[in-house]
Amino acid sequence: MQLKKSHAIRNKLALASSALLISSPAISIAAEKTDTADIDNVGISQLYYSEEDRVTVQKTQAIITKEIGESDILKLSFVYDTMSGASPNGRIFTDTEGGITNTTPSGSSSSGSGDSSDTWKTSFEDTRTAFNAEWEHKFMTVLTGVLGGGISKENDYESNTFSGKLLLDINQRRTTLMTGMSVAFDTVSPFGGVPGGATVLACHSNAVFRPTWFDDDCDKTENPIRYKPGEKVVNDYIIGVTQVWNRRTLMQFNFSFSKEDGYLSDPYKQVSIISSELDGEEVAVLHEKRPDTRNTKSLYYKVVHVPTDNTSIHFSYRYFWDDWGVAADTVEGRLRINLTSRTYLQMHSRLHFQGKADFFQPYVGADEKSSYYSSARPNNISADSRLSQLLTATAGVKVGVKINKSSHISARIERMTQRYKNKLLPTMKTFISQINLTFKF
């Protein structure tokens, strides 16, 4: 190739490039816009939950998140779970007549074993299907609104929920203010309708040892009073603030309160009436009764701290209290460590200390010498262990792997135990395992 040996080329090139670079570039100040591809994703999860000698649950869940346009995100969630096994129903001793048939969630019978120290269990098989949708809209860079709705259906329970949330960023986006509310309309419809609260379920032949306020009711046990389906409305409210504390620390403070109205009892839970004169034999059985209203409040604090670029600590504390007399502290911690750029290990621990509800009793005493004696029919009564003084302890481990740029898989296994103050209840031991797969589309 022959080139003229002069400046000619250089000058002509300079001319050509000034023509190329001619326009004065306009700019738009960058708002941090995430790539659409970063948001759209599908998450699928399979959970296996198993209580020793009690209930087993398998749950399949899928969540689809899709960005629509520049300011909207739609999230759809679908859950399918199946429960089977037997759950303690609050009764304590075998009755002398060897078993009473009564309705259960799936319409099958309940039974207890022959040992007097054993608990009665209600066995069932139930499936639940739930669908949830959430629409998030960005009004401005700093203001986001979320609207949600959901339906959940089981053999004997239906719940319809509506929710709304507003989030506002202030303080150079270091602080996020949040407020939200939701309302749920639930219908409980066990086979035969929900029982009247604290009404008699069964009386035994040793009935002469019953409490006096019980006498008349025993004649009616052939056809226990049943109502139509029970209805319940739950209103939840929350306000919270999320604060960037420093470059490596984030915190959240929430205050929530909730009001429940309607049928709040569990139609399958029962309470034994025990006579001390018969050395602790059961003389009759009541349906449980919880109050018609419940007001709950909670304070929640969470902190995330990232000490190195590959480790993070999550810590949360919740203090809960309500007008049923329950007060609870829940403490939870997670430690996450990135083992490589693609894999992480996470350790999890949770402790929940709970005080009992005012109307919780392990049973009702039939005579003055019994513990838990009641001289009149109790207004509210429940022997449901979940309302008693207890301690739940959970420990677990989780491993996650980033398969490629847009998908990752994780699996966890956890051990949960629940111990009760009431010595009559054995410790509940549970294994939980879950696998999650998330991929972008």
């Binding site: 190739m1 022959q2 080139l3 040996k5 002069s6 400046h7 080329i9 250089r10 002509k12 090139l13 300079a14 050509a16 490039s17 000034s18 023509a19 190329l20 670079l21 001619i22 326009s23 004065s24 570039p25 700019i27 100040i29 960058a30 995430t34 790539d35």
Partner: protein, 295 residues
């Protein structure tokens, strides 16, 4: 888009991000941290805009439309039209040595340091789709033979450097140095009026700084084959191909660095020099530019 990083270097701000397969740096001399951050964001935005618009790997952009047009006419936007005009000028000024249609030759040549020299028959076949003279370019419409491809790789990065420097100088501060993987543009001196010091490295001497250049305004660009070549029978084949034969330029220098007013000028001059092969240095002397050369 990965987050850009802003680091306080005491004498200046160093903003970094990754784009166009390079570590991109913006050096700003200002006391205003927020200004530095905003400038960095604009720089990153512009670099990624150009990268995505002219990337061979992204479907749906103008390059993809052009390369899959299959003989049909394509209408291009104003910016692409300017780039095509420029590429055409360079083709003419170099007597055909610089040709943005020569990218398809990568199908034959894989410069991985091995001795896989392709067969002449393959090269000849691909050469049917090489040659700017086969392109019909009448602003704003472009038409090529089916199978032909355009590749802005030889211009893209230097163009992005110049655009970014102009944006920052116009909207933020002129005391800025833009460096995209070694292609540099200086919009103005440091705040105290002193020049920015730029070190030129020789990768063959373990990246030792072999020369220093002080710029108050201007650009530096480098062309070379230090990492991409083939070696057979002791003969070195550079990855810079002669679009008229389909074979590598003979006796090309290893690396040429040129200083000019704009990065695109500097880049094109260094490319032209390498295309001269053995006569690279003579060319540079004749053009009366400041240069460094490694043969």
């Amino acid at each position: 888009m990965q987050a850009a990083k802003l680091i306080n270097k005491k004498t200046h701000w160093l903003g970094t991000f990754y784009s166009m397969a390079s570590q991109c740096e913006i050096l700003l001399d200002t006391k205003d941290e927020k200004l530095a951050w905003d400038a960095l964001q604009s720089a990153q935005k512009e670099a990624i805009r150009i990268e995505q618009k002219y990337s061979r790997y992204k479907s749906g952009n103008i390059i993809d439309k052009i390369n899959t047009a299959n003989g049909e006419r394509v209408t291009v936007d104003e910016e692409t039209a300017r780039l095509l005009d420029y590429a055409q000028q360079c083709f003419n000024l170099s007597d055909g040595a610089f040709d943005i249609t020569s990218g398809v030759l990568r199908k034959a040549w894989k410069f991985d340091g091995s001795n896989n020299i392709p067969d002449q028959k393959i090269i000849s076949k691909i050469m049917n789709q090489v040659g700017w003279e086969k392109v019909e370019w009448k602003n704003p419409k472009l038409r090529m033979l089916p199978g032909m491809q355009l590749d802005f790789g030889g211009i893209g990065k230097e163009y992005a450097v110049d655009r970014t420097a102009a944006i920052i100088a116009q909207h933020y501060t002129a005391h800025v140095l833009v460096n995209f993987g070694g292609d540099i543009s200086v919009a103005g001196p440091r705040e105290n009026g002193e020049a920015w010091e730029i070190g030129l490295q020789n990768p063959e001497e373990n990246n030792a700084t072999v020369a220093k250049v002080a710029l108050k305004k201007g650009a530096v660009a480098t062309s070379g084959d230090l990492n991409r070549f083939l070696l057979k029978n002791g003969k070195r084949y550079t990855h810079i191909l002669n679009p008229k034969t389909g074979w590598p330029i003979k006796n090309a220098p290893r690396q040429v660095t040129v200083l000019a007013n704009t990065c695109i000028d500097a880049g094109m001059l260094s490319t032209f020099a390498i295309l001269q092969g053995a006569e690279a240095e003579e060319f540079l002397i004749a053009q009366d530019v400041d240069y460094r050369i490694i043969t």
